[in-house]
Subunit: 210 residues, 2 copies
DNA sequence: ATTATCTATAGATCTATAGATAATGC
DNA sequence: ATTATCTATAGATCTATAGATAATGC
């Protein structure tokens, strides 16, 4: 038995799961090969089917898990009524970028699969359609209230959320392009995240300024 | 001979090329099937190989064409020295969104292939590394000059370009998600583009305000 | 004579399973 | 007795080509 992977006390099931996650995340469902997954896990190919039966079953399990993470990440609403405008915006941006930082491949994985396999992410869309309006209404009310107090401009919460999401997510979705065009600026990822946190907060606050 | 496609005076080669473009753009290289392409083109599968020899050759041809388009779209620099700040920003945003509007699947296609197949888009990255700094330096000089005149703040041209690109591109990359979360706002695409043109111009101008 | 098209099939690759064997927990 | 693992191979799918036939342009 050749121990070519560092399978320090991980079970075969875990090894396959981990290898499959890596393979599916980087290559997508169509590009992933069950043989490659087994090889990367350091186990016989038959083991793949022994533990997870089919490629599709394992993919469904992984994408369901990822979508759950994504929804939790997106819909962790900031509903504290006593929070100031500055705190609110800072909180939303920081949370979002922290989440992206912890799951850098997630946006790419989801957007990729959405095109080739629309029904796989139907669960995601359904959840969004139900939950997003709830959060956006609370957010809009908050903005309107603060606008009435003269603290900020009265802007559309939907467009504001799209702005925030766009500014935060795009570097992750197009990392090689952004990094290539902007002088290797994403080489140190943590530093880049810190810069973008400040930059995006500033951009949004200026947009909200009365 | 069953004429199941509307091949009004298009040659077989053109029909295959068109079908292949559609297949590759939506499913990526790994997800695309040469049999499906031939079927969609309404020709025998052997014709695919007669005209284009291999799947990879045709893919390379299509991706090269798309990357050329993308580079032209990105690097159509606005270098008119006499342009005011307002005009400059408006021009960049309008051009970019017009380009995206004409090529809505392009960002997804490129970002998808970048992960599974880094060397396929190496040409794109090489071009960007060479050309982007040239444009960004001119842009930075322009900002610095206008800042010295007191017309705008002195901001980093790289971050500003990233902001603009993010705000413009993201809805195209994550269309189903944005559309699902934001109340079907992208149903009428032309209307949505017009709204984002104004919105993004406003966002960026506020960021630049002294 | 060259170009275009078709049928049939080879060849490669990938998913999945059958069936034998070893390890493990009562 | 059940669970885990292996070898070997079936079965499906997909890319690619061979070789025959029809259409086209001199």
């Amino acid at each position: 038995m050749i121990d070519n992977s560092v399978n320090n006390n991980q079970t075969t099931e875990e090894l396959i799961l981990k290898a499959a996650e890596q393979e599916f995340m980087t290559k997508g469902f169509a590009g992933a090969r069950t043989t490659s997954i087994a090889e990367a896990a350091g186990v016989t190919h038959a083991m793949f089917h022994y533990y997870f039966r089919t490629k599709e079953k394992l993919f469904d399990r992984i994408i369901a898990e990822k979508i759950k993470m994504l929804i939790n990440g997106l819909l962790t609403s900031v509903t504290d009524r006593d929070m100031s405008l500055n705190e609110l915006i800072k909180n939303i941006i920081d949370r979002h970028l922290n989440f992206l930082s912890a799951n850098p491949d997630l946006p790419n994985f989801v957007t990729r699969e959405i095109y080739g396999n629309p029904d796989k992410v139907k669960i995601l869309l359904d959840k969004l359609i139900v939950n997003a309006p709830v959060f956006l209404n609370i957010f809009q009310e908050k903005i309107d209230r603060l606008a009435a107090e003269g603290v900020c401009r009265r802007v559309d919460a939907r467009m504001l959320m799209l702005d925030i999401a766009s500014l935060n997510v795009l570097p992750f979705l197009a990392k090689p392009i952004v990094n290539g065009a902007l002088n290797n600026c994403m080489a140190n990822m943590e530093e880049f995240i810190q810069i973008r946190k400040k930059e995006n907060y500033d951009t949004i606050m200026r947009k909200l300024k009365p």
